[in-house]
Symmetry: C2
């Protein structure tokens, strides 16, 4: 079977490009002595996770209990970079195979205590990374005193083990020049947190950073020990637009079929917001995607099962039934919309399914819990 | 089990409200002699489809082959309101149970001919609705001559049967007063298409309109025989914002847990863009959702597994572990992100799973086809 036979809409992966993207990230991290702990949120796939581990990942980063359960099949080193703030999620982490070392990033005593108590009750110890706000203003403590307080509690509680710091620099969009000030401010902030912890007798052995846009500047952050890039396996229109990937590093696209050309200067494809996420670009550049081989053609609008291609900048006039490949704005949200992906070694050759074991929420833990 | 035990993020349905919403739509249609053919894209659920049929729906509207396959289990009257423009999709429609009457909306001879040929080859006849552009500029022929040409071809081809017209008035956001001009222009356009078809000896027996915003003004469109509202079963922040539903008609929300309050004047919940679709409101009102019981609290930002609640307009200060219910901007995209929903008769009472059989793309037809 080849791409022409694949029913649309479908997420497709250029496997050589994906492997090259992984190798490049692995080589950068190796070269700078930084541990590579890729985030599986982008690919959600055991096959891709295995590749990452084979290429040198020290372990994996996950966001959900289901991702942790699935990825525990292929690694014994999982960082849950998201506070589990409900008994059901904590129960799922507690039930992970005992040989898997689970680290959890969190920013409050309210998230820390129930987790450690549950761990202690079954003889499990969770490594704790205290998250500080890198400047994004999403999660993470703002004051160093709060970080010290949580670290002390983690170090003292049975079921807890203080491992270090975590942050997410989602506000920094490298390599834009004006973003380097933000990186410098983050480095200062990181130094402050590290200093306060060391002073309290709680040195951070792990300092976990992240994000694909900042990946290639990770060595500029003093004390950083590991990174958690997710998107860099596939890249997308957003990453391309900020200059953090080249066009030949775009490894994912949505295959779609033209279903209507009735309205002048546009073609409508069968990939809508249920196949391509309707996320605007942070840069303000309009559109929800672009054609892989015709970047001048953008997806100007999306309804649920309709994608409107803007033909105003091209002489190209497709017909009903023609196929296109669309690079989405945000690949992580887009992969999450697919039942499975199709991978190929050569776009004219055979395709094969790539399963997405980490998609969805898994068996609702509530079914297994007596509350 | 009750709401407190449900692991978050989770889509939850207030069943009495959903039934009331359906009864109201059914009564309106009955009162005006318009057939009610609700679109299942919103709920994706056999249980909800059965309710709609029980309350008087004449059949169901679907967008995908998988929705058609699933809904054929509960009705013998399905409108596929989306051109199937690939052999694989056509093969799936051909394979539907023979007792199910399948109608297809399309706007080109290129979509029509392969469908009818495939039907004729197996002795199946597809009812054809010719789609015209209601003013949205998405799909649908613009010229009446094109509509007549497609209708003639549908009427003459074995495997085809000309049934009438279809349109989607997605550009009209009733009840805003300035939108009534658009409705009047649509009525004029509809008259023109109906006149040309009648003149060509091809009267449209079916005229299928749609959309939740225009639902309650359907009787103002001359010649309309049926409507395809989807969203009105649950409603959402968008429908509320345009005044086409009241707050007590909001039947769907995303249950979420507060995971961080580290950054001042905000609370972060575990429902991000993979639980609430990151779709902006067409009205330009900011935010991606609002709390069901505190509409002054909006979701100001979404990352994949993080939703940022804006607390600047409230004195309310939640703690880590607290639960909230979020009304999304666009419920259809949001339901599509869930593995299943939870329904309740009373928000303090028991919850039970609502399965989403119509979600996803179904078994890839490519697996069943020899191409």
């Amino acid at each position: 079977m080849n791409l022409a036979a694949v029913e649309t809409p479908a997420g497709v992966v250029d496997l050589p490009r994906a492997r090259d993207n992984l190798r490049r990230a692995a080589a950068y991290c190796r070269g700078h002595g930084i541990a590579w702990r890729p985030h599986v949120k982008t690919h959600k796939s055991l096959e891709m996770a295995r590749l990452q581990l084979e290429f040198g990942a020290v372990g994996l980063s996950v966001a959900t209990p289901h991702e942790a359960e699935v990825m525990s099949q292929v690694t014994d080193d999982v960082l849950v970079a998201h506070p589990p703030a409900h008994p059901s999620k904590i129960a799922r982490l507690c039930a992970l195979p005992t040989e898997v070392d689970i680290k959890v990033g969190l920013d409050s005593l309210d998230a820390l205590r129930p987790l450690c108590h549950a761990g202690a009750a079954i003889g499990r110890t969770f490594g704790i990374l205290v998250e500080f706000d890198a400047g994004l203003g999403r999660t993470g403590v703002v004051d160093v005193d709060d970080a010290v307080r949580i670290a002390e509690c983690a170090a003292s509680l049975p079921g807890g083990r203080f491992d270090g710091l975590m942050f997410y620099p989602g506000h920094i969009r490298i390599p834009r020049r004006d973003q380097h000030d933000r990186l410098a401010r983050l480095a200062d902030r990181l130094r402050r947190f590290l200093g306060a912890l060391a002073e309290a007798g709680l040195p951070a052995h792990t300092v976990s950073g992240g994000s694909t846009p900042t990946l290639w500047d990770s060595h500029l952050l003093p004390g950083l020990t590991e990174v958690r890039p997710g998107t860099s396996i596939y890249n997308d229109r957003d990453i391309l637009g900020m200059g953090a990937a080249r066009r030949d590093e775009l490894a994912f696209s949505v295959l779609a079929t033209v279903i209507s050309v009735a309205v002048p200067r546009q073609a409508v494809v069968d990939a809508g917001s249920k196949a391509i996420s309707k996320e605007a670009l942070a840069s303000g550049v309009p559109g929800y995607g672009m054609l892989l081989d015709r970047p001048e053609v953008t997806v100007k609008a999306l309804n649920e099962e309709h994608g409107m291609l803007d033909l105003s900048g091209t002489e190209w006039r497709p017909s009903v039934g023609d196929r296109v490949r669309i690079v989405p704005n945000h690949v992580c949200a887009c992969v999450n919309l697919q039942d499975q992906l199709w991978g190929f070694e050569n776009e004219n050759g055979a395709v094969r399914p790539i399963t997405l074991e980490g998609r969805g929420r898994g068996a609702p833990a509530a079914h297994r819990l007596t509350l």
